[in-house]
């Protein structure tokens, strides 16, 4: 059904309001695969004529809309008043599947009409019938074996003759009923009479006859044969049957008056529907293209949809950010998704009683739940810093640091974790680093919270780092990454930086918004990790910008599963 409507649609691609677009694409693909033709060639052209003759506008419209197949079909009526579909197919004018298509189009346009219809039934063998043709029907098989003097029981029959139970029981029933056999004590079969076997023999003969010819016209058969077939043909719902009866419609078409006048114009113009749509390599090799007329296409029609390879729009956005950072002299950092609390929090001087370490803020792993060790000498140094400030010039938090708590495994909750690891691994000085890190937070998933999300953060190290260069860097990030020109710096609080600052910018579409947070790492962070110069830590919140760039309102759409959505999503940076 959809195929039929689709074919119509292919000729009028804009008129598909009543057919699901997705259904169309599915069928398009199906057709592709079946015919090996591209839908473009099949569909998107109409014929143009140089000389239109004397038709009135309605007719001209019809003439313009004719598909080569339709023209070909009309041509078949050149010297005939009526044409039977069988004749058209038999003469090889148009094949069966396309004839249906072309005749339906012409019927709809009123160029032809159906002047008669005959149904012919033919009979052929089913799979079972084929088997019986080769190996005889079960009744005959049993009879011949008995005649050969073989002895067997009812129970033996199905494996002796490779028959299934249904076949056995119906064959035995038939043989008993016609009085040919009897069943003795012990279940042995015995020949009772030689008469009464004609029924089986004539069935076998008929099977042989049909098997030989493959298919016979039901009308050509004798009444006797017809009644045998009637008794043994496959009926709906029954799986076994010997004969299959199939009906074929032979429609008789005749031209309408309108069709006749269109045909005469076609004849005058020499339009046969045989003109060429596709330039082929052979035409080029042989030079035959010179003698061909190429159909003109209606190029104002919409093309069919195709899919291409494409980056994910959110990744495109993140790639843009990534290359901006490289351009500004930042090196990329990476780190593990499963972290211990030490690198995620302790090393960042977040006390072990900090609310952000709560069971309602961070995801803990089930098993294993603890890492094996904290890298030396950082464990000890960080612990001392928390307890009494260590060698940092700080008073420390003044609580008993629990190293087992530090070993607790969690899902990384902030990108700064990666910066902490970088500080501990001998970073370049001066140095600039960034990471685009997947992070996890204990949050109800909704339009503003994804189950996991990207954080963009990093560090800048150097002797020249101070509050003013911190502001300068933020301004640069705002201009280059967020593409914002107006800024505001506001006091902020982060457990690991002092001074801390929030960067607000005036976004072209969103207005004033928080773009990110930053600060100079507390000495309690840098000194235990072995860094003696000041370090800027910064983080940008770009998800809202990404959502604007992708024109979406729900953060979950950044990770959409809907391929249609992903394929069609454009990004405007």
């Amino acid at each position: 059904m959809v195929s039929q409507r689709l074919l119509r649609w292919q000729r009028h691609p804009r008129d598909y309001s009543n057919i699901g677009r997705t259904a169309v694409s599915a069928v398009l693909n199906g057709l592709n695969l079946l015919t090996g033709e591209t839908p473009v060639l099949l569909s998107f052209y109409t014929v143009n004529f140089l000389n239109r003759g004397t038709l009135h506008p309605e007719q001209e419209k019809i003439l313009e809309s004719l598909h080569p197949l339709e023209i070909k079909l009309l041509h078949s009526f050149r010297d005939k008043e009526t044409l039977a579909s069988k004749e058209i197919i038999d003469k090889g004018l148009i094949d069966e599947s396309r004839l249906d298509m072309a005749s339906n189009w012409l019927l709809k346009k009123g160029l032809i009409e159906i002047s008669g219809e005959e149904v012919t039934s033919s009979v052929s063998l089913t799979e079972t019938g084929g088997d019986y043709c080769k190996n005889n029907i079960p009744e005959i098989r049993i009879l011949s074996a008995l005649r050969e003097g073989r002895s067997f029981t009812v129970k033996d029959i199905n494996h002796t003759f490779h028959l299934d139970l249904l076949e056995v029981s119906s064959a035995l029933g038939a043989l008993k009923e016609s009085g040919v056999i009897m069943i003795t004590h012990g279940g042995f079969l015995e020949l009772k009479s030689d008469k009464g076997t004609e029924e089986f023999e004539s069935l076998q003969d008929l099977i042989g006859l049909i098997g030989e010819k493959e298919s016979l016209n039901l009308g050509d058969l004798s009444d006797e044969h017809k009644s045998i077939i009637e008794a043994h043909h496959r009926k709906r719902g029954k799986s076994k049957g010997i004969f299959r009866i199939s009906e074929k419609r032979n429609r008789i078409f005749s031209l309408t008056e309108n069709g006749r006048s269109i045909l005469s114009v076609l004849l005058k113009q020499g339009e046969t529907g045989e003109d060429v749509s596709q330039l082929t390599p052979d035409m080029l090799k042989e030079g035959t293209w010179k003698n061909k007329t190429f159909r003109k296409y209606n190029i104002s029609l919409s093309p069919p949809r195709i899919s291409i390879g494409k980056k994910h729009p959110y990744r495109e956005f993140l790639d843009f950010v990534k290359y901006k950072f490289i351009a500004m002299g930042f090196e990329e950092m990476r780190g593990p998704l499963i972290e211990n609390e030490f690198w995620n929090m302790d090393a960042l001087y977040m006390p072990q009683f900090h609310p952000a370490r709560d069971i309602h803020d961070v995801y803990f792993t089930k098993e294993p739940s603890q890492c094996r060790e904290i890298e030396s000498p950082f464990g000890k140094r960080v612990a001392e810093t928390h307890i009494h400030g260590g060698k940092t010039g700080s008073k420390g938090w003044g609580y008993p640091f629990d190293i087992n708590r530090a070993r607790r495994l969690i899902l990384r909750s902030q990108g700064t974790t990666i910066s902490a690891r970088t500080l501990a691994s001998g970073p370049k000085i001066p140095g600039k680093y960034f990471s685009i890190a997947r992070c996890f937070r204990y949050d109800t998933v909704d339009a503003t919270h994804a189950p996991d999300f990207y954080q963009i953060e990093g560090i800048v190290l150097g002797e020249e780092i101070n509050f003013r260069t911190l502001l300068g860097l933020l301004k640069l990030l705002g201009e280059e990454i967020a593409m914002v020109k107006e800024f505001q710096f506001l006091p902020a609080y982060f457990p690991f930086t002092e001074p801390s600052v929030e960067l607000h910018g005036k976004h072209a579409k969103l207005g004033w918004m928080e773009l990110g947070g930053a600060g100079i790492f507390r000495p309690e962070v840098t000194i235990p990790l072995g860094v003696k110069v000041p370090v800027i830590a910064w983080g940008l919140g770009l998800d809202r910008m990404a959502m604007v760039a992708l024109d979406i309102n729900d953060i979950r759409d950044l990770f959409s599963r809907d391929l249609d959505f992903i394929r069609t999503k454009k990004i405007r940076l």
């Binding site: 694409s25 398009l28 693909n29 199906g30 899919s307 390879g309 494409k310 994910h312 990744r315 990534k322 950072f325 490289i326 351009a327 500004m328 090196e331 990329e332 593990p336 998704l337 499963i338 009683f353 609310p355 069971i359 309602h360 995801y363 803990f364 792993t365 098993e367 060790e373 400030g389 700080s394 008073k395 003044g398 899902l411 600039k432 997947r438 998933v445 189950p451 996991d452 800048v460 150097g462 101070n466 003013r468 260069t469 502001l471 300068g472 301004k475 710096f489 506001l490 006091p491 002092e498 001074p499 600052v501 100079i520 800027i536 950044l558 599963r561 809907d562 391929l563 249609d564 394929r567």
Partner: protein, 561 residues
């Protein structure tokens, strides 16, 4: 982070000046506070305080104080700190309480001019200090009583759970301590703080009246404050002496700012504490900090004079004495967040105004670049896009069904202990389930589908320090009616050709793929991934009705060849 609800009029009364909206927001930034909501009709402001180390700001009085200091240019000094006075009200602390909830601080507050708004604010302050600062009362909890009903000295002691009874707030019958824990809503919520001990904390006065069962509930007779109340008694109990003292300091300055008279209370311990056996609370724990002006200049990035520093810090609430090349700062007693000179330096910058600092670009040159893994991953992504594949970005968390059951795989995965939603309770160890998830949702998108994702996965590995390995994998999947092994193989083959790496496939039986149509991808004798036609049983689990072929390969190992 705390959020407080206050009335604008109340704030203005305490600030002693009216505020326009833009002025308000400007002043709020001094307290690292952000205006979240303003309802003109009810005159209510919802304000978010971001500094979790500044509980003194979690009240209308605290916010107003920070703003008022800036406006007046002078710190507010509170006379009752360090007040020497005979005949103080006294709390006697028994020795056995040391094991359970060792510290207490208190003050008497006289001459309150209470009204509805004020009472609401007192209760809000009490709540923020107990719930957020006090970690749901475990570290610190606050109790407020009618002063005039109490006969001093008050005893802070332990009591047998079933021997003492009183009428708790919200009830009209006497209950013993055990019954309070079992039946009173507060007992049910906070009971775990004390229920492990044999005896529970109790505040009881010299008339043997129970004041409260800290940190659970007050007595209804003494511990209920009404709008008519003029004189109140405030106490804080807890397990951290500094926190307990800080809480009473904050409450006392807040009430003082409301015009009440604060009278200190003597706490007599039978055991030694960080501040001695006898502590008069409110108690200043301030230790003056000496900071060189050079340190200010270095951190702020511009020359600042001691006088300028002094001016800024005083306006922020500090007392400052100026030396030749250094200053000495006595921070206010309601703060205990000064751990390092940088904390004072930030106060100076905030007081001066962040906008007064001229941003300067860090000019030292550095060379940017991507990690080897990322470079390699980009190369692979470009190839796949060129080969006609649509890139996918998926969530890394999913359900055990998605990553295990539907895949017919029985592998150990990293699972979340404190699950919020079962749908996001497991970390993926392959990309393939993410791609199948897309297929499940996209049967209506026209075929063929060619999708891929380069992304992180986590492999359970108890031998690793972190119990796991985070890997970067590439997964690619093709889906259409006639998809085959050889089609996906062609793409893999070409990928290896362009990467210039040789590989071979080794037949493999893997439950996620069809038997006899699956292979291990072997590079230098290492199995780096799998390729095959996806098992129809797997497709069935995902409710996918279109055949799929796929491969998945580990990129961070591949990038090293």
């Amino acid at each position: 982070m705390a959020t407080v609800d206050i009335k604008k009029k109340d704030l203005e009364r305490l600030f002693q000046k009216r505020l326009t909206r833009s002025h308000l927001e400007e002043y709020l930034s001094l307290a690292k506070a952000e205006l979240k909501e303003y309802n003109i009709e009810t005159d209510s402001l919802k304000i978010e305080l971001s500094d979790s180390n500044r509980p003194d700001l979690w009240s209308v009085e605290g916010i107003a104080r920070q703003m008022r200091t800036h406006l007046s240019g002078n710190p507010v000094n509170y006379p009752f700190f360090g007040m020497r006075k005979k005949h103080l009200r006294e709390i006697k602390v028994s020795s056995e309480i040391k094991q359970v909830r060792p510290y207490i601080a208190a003050c008497a507050v006289l001459g309150l001019r209470m009204n509805e708004d004020f009472l609401v604010q007192i209760i809000q302050s009490q709540d923020k200090l107990s719930e957020i600062f006090g970690r749901k009362r475990r570290m610190v909890s606050v109790g407020i009583y009618e002063l005039d009903r109490i006969l001093f000295p008050v005893n802070y002691m332990l009591a047998e759970p079933d021997r003492v009874s009183f009428i708790p707030l919200g009830m009209d019958k006497r209950m013993n301590l055990k019954e309070v824990l079992e039946r009173h809503p507060k007992g049910i919520t906070y009971g775990s703080i004390v229920s492990n001990f044999k005896k529970y904390p109790l505040l009881i006065d010299s008339n043997a009246q129970v004041l409260s069962f800290p940190p659970i509930i007050n007595s209804r007779e003494i511990g209920e404050v009404k709008t008519e109340t003029k004189n109140i008694f405030v106490e804080v109990t807890g397990i951290d002496l500094r926190m307990v003292n800080l809480a009473i300091n904050i409450l006392s300055v807040n009430l003082h700012d409301r015009g009440a008279k604060i009278e200190p209370v003597l706490i007599s311990y039978l055991y030694q504490t960080e501040f001695g056996k006898k502590i008069t609370t409110p108690f200043s724990m301030v230790e003056p900090v000496k900071i060189s002006t050079r340190e200010f200049t270095k951190t702020l990035g511009e020359e600042v004079s001691p006088l300028e520093i002094r001016k800024c810090l005083v306006r922020y609430g500090h007392n400052v004495s100026v030396g030749r090349s250094s200053i000495t700062v006595s921070y206010p007693p309601y703060r205990d967040d000064i751990m390092h000179p940088v904390d004072i330096i930030e106060d100076m910058a905030i007081s001066k105004g962040y906008s007064s600092f001229k941003p300067e670009m860090p000019h030292q040159s550095t060379v940017g670049g991507l990690s080897e893994t990322e470079l390699f991953s980009d190369l692979v992504r470009d190839y796949l896009v060129g080969a006609g594949f649509q890139e996918i970005v998926s969530n890394i968390l999913g359900s055990p069904e998605e990553f295990r059951e539907r895949m017919c795989i029985d592998e150990k995965l990293i699972e979340i202990e404190n699950v919020m939603s079962r749908s996001y309770s497991v970390v993926r160890n392959r990309i393939l389930p993410s791609l199948l998830k897309v297929e499940t949702a996209s049967s209506k998108s026209f075929y063929p589908h060619r999708v891929f994702e380069v992304g992180e996965v986590v492999i359970y590995d108890p031998l690793q320090n972190l119990g796991s390995q985070t890997r970067l994998n590439l997964g690619a999947l093709i889906s259409h009616p006639a998809v085959s092994f050889s089609e996906i193989h062609s793409y893999l083959d070409l990928l290896f050709f362009y990467l210039g790496i040789s590989y071979r496939l080794e037949p493999e039986e893997h439950p996620a793929f069809m038997p006899g149509r699956c292979g291990n991808i072997i590079v230098e004798e290492k199995a780096l991934g799998l390729i095959g036609e996806v098992n129809p049983a797997v497709l069935d689990h995902w409710q996918i009705t279109m055949p799929c072929s796929a491969f998945e390969i580990n990129l961070d190992t591949l990038s090293t060849f």
